[in-house]
Symmetry: C2
Subunit: 234 residues, 2 copies
């Protein structure tokens, strides 16, 4: 019997924001795998640490983090092969993904390499984008609102043109692009409609109206959320 | 002591896709409330039915469903007042929301009426949009992808212009707008990149490539998902 590959969305950070489905698979799988920056702890593992029963093999998917560059394909080739070996030996492997596996999750690179060969189940999770809106208290889409999700690293002209044609936007991965995003929102007169949040639902969560965010850089796990019609949902 | 108002994301339909956090609040709250169309069963209640312990007061938020029209404000005025009475009597009230409370969820109308008066906690949930991508097996955003969420009822010219400027799109509430959305995707040459799904993660889930969806109308809880670069995530 060949094992099953699971992609588990484990939610945005609060350990209680994992789903029952992901929790059951997490605790039953003989092997778990999770990403970690080279020589650093894994955020994904830390989120589920309190749920682990302690008898599983763990595969650390070590990914070099270079700002502005994505890990080379050979990283995912290597770890996909390692996971495939477990599956071939009949062991299920659960790959942990912060948030949702298919929403900017690195699991998709493992998935792309193994889905045609192995039985694969992807368990959706609460994304940090949705969680951030709830933490801030900003309903993000009502009725016929158009929502756009923008990665902050795209050029400022592109951010601007795309922000012009939506009702609401979630700007992800703000990090070192913070001032660029704030400037674009300023040019559009949207500062008063925007909120900043970092580490949503984690113990070190910080959030504030963008008008009060006077710093110049932000951590990688930060977001800016904007709705053009303030309190459109009332 | 005044009670706390909870907005609980209960996930897209599979009862196991509720979070631990929502489950704990659901089972502890003395009062739950949930939307239901007039004289019909509540989908939200049916999703959590197996988790209920059976000793809670239940408030049915009866909402007349007229295609193309939203319930009049007085519906939410009435039920907000009813919920406020429970809160004033010191009882917590958990309002159930399919998917995520702030992502096209009707909870936001209750929220808008009560948030300034009562302690309110909003618990994010797995949205049907994210769950649909996982069910189909289509990673929706990787690297610097721009994702747009479009409600199908908007005019076809607007659907077209917004689909032109994104990498991936999730078209929600397809229902009776199915042929319009399919025609727009056809005009953009995107039929082969699109998937159709209804009742994602529920027992009656149906999904298929859009090219095989030869019918002319779809249920309200249906979606079309498209990514312009097929297998961009490989």
């Amino acid at each position: 019997m060949v094992g099953t590959l699971y992609g588990l969305g484990i939610g945005p950070g609060d350990p209680d924001l994992i789903t029952l489905k992901a929790l059951k698979i997490l605790q039953a799988a003989p092997v778990i795998a999770y990403p970690a920056p080279e020589n650093q702890d894994s955020l994904a593992r830390s989120i589920v640490a309190g749920h682990l029963l302690g008898e599983q093999k763990e595969i650390v998917i070590e990914t070099p983090m270079v700002p502005g560059r994505y890990p080379a394909n050979d990283v995912y080739d290597k770890y996909s092969a390692e996971i495939a070996k477990e599956l071939d030996a009949g062991r299920d492997v659960a790959v942990l993904c912060e948030g949702d596996p298919f929403f900017f999750g690195s699991f998709m690179y493992i998935y792309g390499r193994l889905v045609n060969e192995y039985k694969t189940v992807v368990v959706p999770g609460v994304s940090s984008a949705m969680a951030s809106c709830c933490q801030i208290g900003m309903p993000i889409t009502s009725r016929y609102d158009v929502l756009t999700v923008l990665p902050a690293p795209i050029p400022s002209e592109e951010l601007l043109s795309r922000l012009q044609v939506c009702d609401a936007a979630i700007v992800m991965k703000v990090g070192r692009h913070f001032t660029k995003v704030r400037d674009v929102l300023g040019a559009l007169g949207l500062i008063e409609n925007a909120y900043y949040i970092e580490h949503a639902t984690m113990e070190n969560q910080v959030m504030m109206p963008l008008s009060e965010a006077t710093f110049d850089k932000a951590p990688y796990f930060s977001m800016i959320i904007v709705h053009k019609r303030a309190e459109a949902w009332k």
